[in-house]
Amino acid sequence: MSSSSASLTTGQPKPDLLYVDTWRTSRHRTHLDALKGLDAGGMLGTPSRAHLSPTLMPSFRGIRLGAAMLAALIWLSSVPDKAFGQKNSPDIPVVSNVVAIENARIVQAPGRVIESGTVVFRDGVITAVGRRVDVPYDAHVIAGDSLTVYAGFIDALSHVGIPAPRNQGQPESVPDRSNPPFDRAGITPEASARPALNPEHDDLEKLRLAGFTTVMVAPRGRMLPGQATMALSSGTNGSDMILQGMQPMFFQFRGAQGVYPGTPMAIMSKFRQLFREADRRMKLEAMYAEDPNGLTRPPFDAVHEAFFPVISRERHVLVWTDEVLEIHRAMSLQEDLGFSMILAGLSGGFDTVDKVSSSGLPIALTLDLPDKPRFAAKIKQDSLQHILDSYNEETRTATYRDVEAEKDNLEARQLWSRNRYVGTAALYEEAGVPFAFTTMGVEPGDVHENLREMIAAGLSSDAALAALTTNAAALLNASGRMGSVETGKMANLVVTEGDVFDQDSSVKMIFVAGQLHEPSREGSGNRSGRESDETIPNR
């Protein structure tokens, strides 16, 4: 298994279509029914692309099948997506939906490692984890030698799964730009990310390949685009991705185009206005419901109503902070109004460690890092360190005398500045502030490289893993279901060869609620002819 995957992920030719894997140690002999069963049980590929997946089952030790088998496979390929995507499809009976990964290194949670053990999951839920675990008779067994199993990563905030709208040109005109309709002002907190979810969104696949199985997906828009939702990183359709749970109100300092509120200061005022008026209306509604005698019916609109659960602290406000001043702004609003807040982003948060730490607010740090300055892009790390070491804070150069010396010094300071961004997560770890991560605005393919940079800057691997798993689960109030490899948790797993934070490691398999995704075939899923390793994050 491992050898086959390794060759797949290093860009070797795809396995011959005529080879079909038996999962090497599978207790089932491979035959058509078993294959169907496997797939219907959710083992094969992205369900929506399942018509391609079975033919690409990795196999180097598989048995060669005859022409009849090939014909069957072609038949399989032609079956519409949904037949494979739906569990317990009436058309294709499930033979088994139990999987066991044997003899793998299992990182149950940060610092809790089983060097060689077995994970068993059934119907998308982990049923056993341990050194000696009975593998059920009906399990598909994956030999985990040389593999490491982690809990699937959780992204605390992203727009992934919601395709960006096409460029709409000039915004709609309004008669009075000082008082535009709510939707024109970017204020639709009653909306939800849910109807917009689309499992075909390209970035979703990339994020999955980076090891993410769960995402807090926020709707796109401006100041208050709507409620975010927890979602799996795959599904047969948008609804199938949705996970029950926290649906925070998403808020960002992004002004409306040409109408009020346009600037961050007006966004601050508008938020206070909406909150305080909603607070008034909520009290009126309660009075009216109890006894309308002598009262007029309270004014109603969906926008203010959406604030009711925020005011009663039944709903969090999830705030995206793109720069350090936005951290202060969000905290100032929270202090004024006293709602439950989750802070996400915190770029530049190296300057707010103490303030954030003493606030006790739940946070999700950005996985984004500033690009290296252009001059540094092609310089090796050792040489960059040399430039950094050369920085002289005391310089006073007469520019006209020595432009180059001044330029060199300014460039060294830029590297220093970038390092502060890289070192932010380490600072929060050192301060004892638990944090999750968000991929908002990050190219999913950069996630692992950025993580490695953060770890090189002092972040511990355990803290990085906690941010991606246990802390994120706690932040999203989902620790009962996910975040660790434990009995009773969802079978959201990342299986790697090598330590997930090592440069040389690679993601081999991702299980999303028990459904298998593999880098090799994800890449070819809907882009035939593309090299499979293009979408593998650890390269």
């Binding site: 000039q170 709609e172 005109s173 008669p175 009075d176 730009r177 000082s178 002004g255 409306a256 185009q257 040409g258 109408v259 009020y260 509120p261 346009g262 600037t263 961050p264 200061m265 007006a266 005022s269 206070r272 206005q273 305080r276 008026e277 008034r280 009126l284 002598g294 007029t296 350090v324 001043l325 202060h328 702004r329 530049g348 707010t352 500033p370 690009d371 290296k372 300055p373 252009r374 001059f375 360190q385 804070e393 310089t395 006073r396 330029k407 010094n409 300014l410 460039e411 300071r413 830029q414 590297l415 220093w416 500045s417 390092n419 502060r420 070192g423 380490a426 090189a456 800057a457 002092g458």
Partner: protein, 474 residues
């Protein structure tokens, strides 16, 4: 230890001196010519600052143990300069979508990283009144900041306890922004004329008054009736009501004499009596009227002709106002001009034959009074903040050079140690050598996106000139 971590630690130590908390707020300045502004000039005098406050002024003061001493023999010490009109240290300046935006506040967009703070301190300025722009008739609330360079938390640069102030604007800017806006899909709205400006002021005050009355009525009824209905919450009218209650000082962008008098009448109608007219190039024409109303003025020494309403101007403006009993200051409204406000004061002195103390008061105690912070700053007196500017010669001399600036007794600027790169926030991705513009009085936009949004509205307007004067912008 990891090399990168080691670098972090070294770097943090290196910039440690920038953190105000980390350094002593005690200093003894010896043998200076002290220009107290309020108590004349003291020769060969020492000034002792402890815990950021001026503790003693005298000769041969005893130095507390371990205090840092500075020998100012031959040098001049004056109170830190106060700029009553600035747009530095802000993330955004104009919420230009509505003629009345009293609810927005510069408090929410204060930016302690702005290099403009350090640059201003290099000109002896220790306090700035950072204001909303002049796009709206009633713009946002302003913020009074101290130049505590090196602070990264916006709260750390606020002048604690400074009264609230708000920006008003009359004349060409608001009428152009709102009344003559043609593109972007939104048509022109009131005001297009100076008459319309007055009408907008009246209705804003009237709405604020009714709002205040509605809440007063509710509060009275709620005392006995638990089912009393509170009025609809309105952040904007909350601020208008606070102006009516006298809790917010008005600072109004204005040029023409007629509109200046108009505003005093509108304010008179609503019992608002604390007003400073900013710019006020024609204020000299109505100086007696302003004195009678008790209005203040904050003007330029000799800056005008940048648009039609600013042609009728004179360099005697400040002196005429002073001589007529109008409390007057000289401001910058510019991230460049604020570095030589002492020159501006000297120009007004030269034109109008003012005394040294009169000239210096226009950049120290007078703006302090206009901002309601005269008990804290604006003169060298025992008990006031240790905000000090040291010059190598008399600050009203054309040859003077600022050499040291202290804020709360902390040395912020030192000409001897003015390094090439004094930034606190360094963009890690920008091209070195690329000019990084900062927000000034003339560049009142928050971000490229915001600029694009605004440009889509103003594209048919030949010139966007929010605060009126463009010569420093190019």
């Amino acid at each position: 230890m990891n090399k990168t971590i080691r670098f972090f630690l070294i770097a943090l130590l290196a910039v440690g001196f920038l953190t105000p908390d980390a350094i002593a707020q005690d200093v003894l300045i010896r043998n200076a010519t002290v220009l107290t502004v309020t108590n004349g000039t003291l020769e060969d005098t020492d000034v002792l600052i402890t815990d950021g406050i001026i503790a003693e002024i005298g000769t041969d003061l005893r130095a507390p143990r371990g205090i840092s001493e500075f020998d100012a023999s031959g040098k001049f010490v004056m109170p830190g300069i106060i700029d009553a009109h600035a747009h530095i240290a802000l993330s955004s300046v104009n919420e230009s979508t509505s003629p009345v935006t009293a609810e927005v506040s510069m408090e929410d967009v204060t930016n302690p990283y702005s290099l403009g703070i350090y640059r201003a301190s290099a000109g002896g300025v220790t306090v700035s009144h950072i204001m909303h722009g002049s796009a709206n008739i009633i713009g946002g609330q302003n913020e009074t900041i101290k130049h505590r360079w090196g602070a990264t938390n916006p709260d750390d640069i606020r002048l604690e306890g400074a009264p609230r102030t708000i920006k008003f604007a009359l004349g060409e800017n608001p009428t152009r922004v709102h009344g003559r806006r043609a593109s972007g899909g939104s048509g022109a709205i009131v005001p297009a004329t100076r008459m319309g400006v007055e009408q907008v002021l009246h209705s804003a005050f009237e709405n604020g008054k009714r709002y205040m009355e509605a809440w007063n009525a509710y509060n009275a009824e709620a005392a006995t009736n638990p089912r009393a209905i509170p009025p609809v919450w309105n952040e904007r009218l909350e601020v208008m009501a606070d102006i009516l209650r006298g809790e917010i000082l008005v600072h109004c962008h204005s040029y023409r004499a007629d509109e200046i008098v108009m505003l005093t009448r509108v304010l008179g109608d609503y019992g608002v009596d604390r007003i400073t007219f900013q710019h006020a190039n024609e204020a000299f024409k109505v100086a007696p009227e302003l004195a009678e109303f008790g209005a203040h003025a904050s003007v330029f020494a000799d800056w005008w002709s940048y648009k039609f309403e600013v042609y009728y101007s004179t360099s005697y403006n400040a002196a005429i106002l002073m001589r007529n009993g109008v409390l007057t200051s000289i401001n910058s409204d510019s991230a460049e001009l604020n570095r030589h406000l002492y020159h501006e004061a000297a120009k007004s002195q030269r034109y109008g034959d003012l005394t040294d103390d009169e000239a210096l008061s226009m950049i120290t105690i007078n703006p302090a009074i206009q901002l309601g912070i005269q008990d804290r700053v604006g003169s060298i007196e025992i008990g006031k903040d240790g905000d000090i500017a040291v010059f190598d010669s008399h600050p009203l001399s054309i040859y003077t050079i600022p050499v040291l600036t202290f804020v709360d007794g902390v040395k912020i600027f030192d000409r001897e140690n003015d390094m090439d790169d004094m930034r606190v926030d360094i963009n890690p991705t920008a091209e070195v050598g690329e000019y990084e513009g900062q927000i000034t009085g003339h560049d009142h936009m928050h971000s490229n996106e915001e600029v694009a949004d605004a440009m889509s509205f103003f594209e048919s307007v030949a010139k966007i000139d929010f605060d009126g004067h463009d010569q420093h912008n190019h």
